[in-house]
Symmetry: C2
Subunit: 390 residues, 2 copies
Amino acid sequence: MTGFEFQDVRGRGFSRRMALLDAQAAIDAACPPGMPRLVPVGEARGLCLAAPVTAPGDWPDADRAARDGMAINAADSLGAESYNPISLPLAWELSAGEPLPPGTNAVLPVDATLRSPVGVEAVEGLPPGAGVERRAAALSAGAHLLPLARALRPSDLGLLSGLGVRAVLAHPSPRVRILLLGGPRTGGEALGAMLSELVRRDGGLPERRGPVPADADAVVEALRAASVDGGADLVLTAGRTGVGGDDVAPVALAAAGRVDWHGVALRPGDSTGFGDVGGVPVLLLPGEPMACWSAYAVLGTRAVRGRGGRSVDGLGRAVAAVTARKLVSEIGSVDLHRVRFTEDGRVEPLASPMTPGLAALARADGVVISPAESEGVPAGATVQVWLLEP
Amino acid sequence: MTGFEFQDVRGRGFSRRMALLDAQAAIDAACPPGMPRLVPVGEARGLCLAAPVTAPGDWPDADRAARDGMAINAADSLGAESYNPISLPLAWELSAGEPLPPGTNAVLPVDATLRSPVGVEAVEGLPPGAGVERRAAALSAGAHLLPLARALRPSDLGLLSGLGVRAVLAHPSPRVRILLLGGPRTGGEALGAMLSELVRRDGGLPERRGPVPADADAVVEALRAASVDGGADLVLTAGRTGVGGDDVAPVALAAAGRVDWHGVALRPGDSTGFGDVGGVPVLLLPGEPMACWSAYAVLGTRAVRGRGGRSVDGLGRAVAAVTARKLVSEIGSVDLHRVRFTEDGRVEPLASPMTPGLAALARADGVVISPAESEGVPAGATVQVWLLEP
């Protein structure tokens, strides 16, 4: 990001737009993870570790049964077979996971056991250690359990609880203030519902505010409130980013704090802006719903995920597919194409990148992103399709 | 699922095990989605539609500006160029999304406009309709918006809110009662934390209960309470499913309701069972944590997702990879192998399918599932790897 100087584009238009990669780099640099906290394991779901976790002790902490059966001294079963049952002087019934009683070193399976009036007989000879999970077989004290920056999985919570780990050092979920700018025309509620859910998906805690009137002073006040009260780790505004007279978001951000860039070579979403108010990063998203979604997908997701300590590549999963038709694009801009799969597994565009609204996105199976230096993608080319299904 | 008769396996062992596909089919048949409800869009995140949604009206509902600029009569701009500005008798400044004022039929971009002391001039000639989004361009009233069984995406919430759709007919999130059976040995808290998070991931509302003592009467009572109070759409128990003396979950389910099957050809997780109490499906998961995870992954996820109306294939995303080493398996059982990627992008096993505990799963990048009829997968074979990262 070199030499950006804020300009009020209202009534003038953009004189330049940031390259998308530079815009992303600026966001990544300005959105570090929050201060690590010691978080009880029961509240750590979805959080990212700020330190690796090691095993607090051996696991299992004693030799124990690996199956349900009879704990025996293996030597007592020597030579036992189904036609030669051998009586066992020592046999403790126990369940998988229970520690071996003293004097035993193997666990006879239930179906290799006979119960007779005089006691228990083996119908299978065991070597020492059969059916036994040795102390520390799974883990030795101090062993590496989970790496730095791990986004905790459901099974990790089970692992940690089971080993008696009570708390982990983790980055808290970022609190993301969503400010809806302007009146009913921008469809604030629609954007609020969508952005809240996107933020949640990326591990953030959304807090919706607004609608804030499309008035520079009101927007300045709302931005300052987000930073001054210390209640937000990131601010997303929606609406009022364009070149019309009432597009006050960028000038309000300049007045309340600092604009790092405004205007990005991305379609749709080219009027997105980014900056800072009192140390809190602020992303200005367009109010047109498809542009808002697009800018969130390639820029907002990085900010939210970055603040939570996650990997910032949050577009989800991609599959390779062949284009059934040309994807028409514009040189100089990264274009986001809504596509669907044809019956033969190729992809076709559903709308031009600049078609507004979310209806075509609802019919799409995924999006294809064409690079800035391309005029589009010809039919028959192989592309990455970022899938929309959860 | 043919001819299963419940047998108490305690102290005897399993005489047969269900094929995994039959076990899955029984779950799918017994876990239909809940009764559809009219749900406000603001509360519908993640739910599945019980009916398709169509557009309540045209969108846009009038011709409107597709960009910020000046609404003009296109004929007035005829012949305008940068060296031949033409004065416009009619020019309304408006923002993208605003309806066109009467008498206008095109929107001149901001940077094709000159403001002079006498008024506004065009420096570009426009055809009628340029910069305009026509009424119904995105959607006509009654057009198909979202299909039956759609799991609502974040952008769908925006689409519906923006079109004024207030509520949708959807299947509610299933309430999933989690009963932890037995004392501290089963690590109930660990399983509770893990299962709650897995249920949440699959769109269910987890409700943890227990630990319930490893006593048949207590388990019968807990199962009946889940069905009788009408508070659960599905019950997951964890622990006490094996062949040991205290493995009371199956006999308790038989006493409280019905056991459809107990024992499945799956490793780990072979002691899983399934049945019904008072119309509520009950899945009996093993208490060994890795077996519990495995059984949830291939069986529990289908029950939770099915009850919510979702597609039941919930293992997530898979990528193809080549095995670096043999995956050793057992004929007659579907085996779940914990694997990691090597530096050259192949996969290698981290543990035998029967290795207990979640530590190897924590080191795994994914799991490979080998079919029942296989003795394993040789080195150099291509397999599907189900990825563990969210």
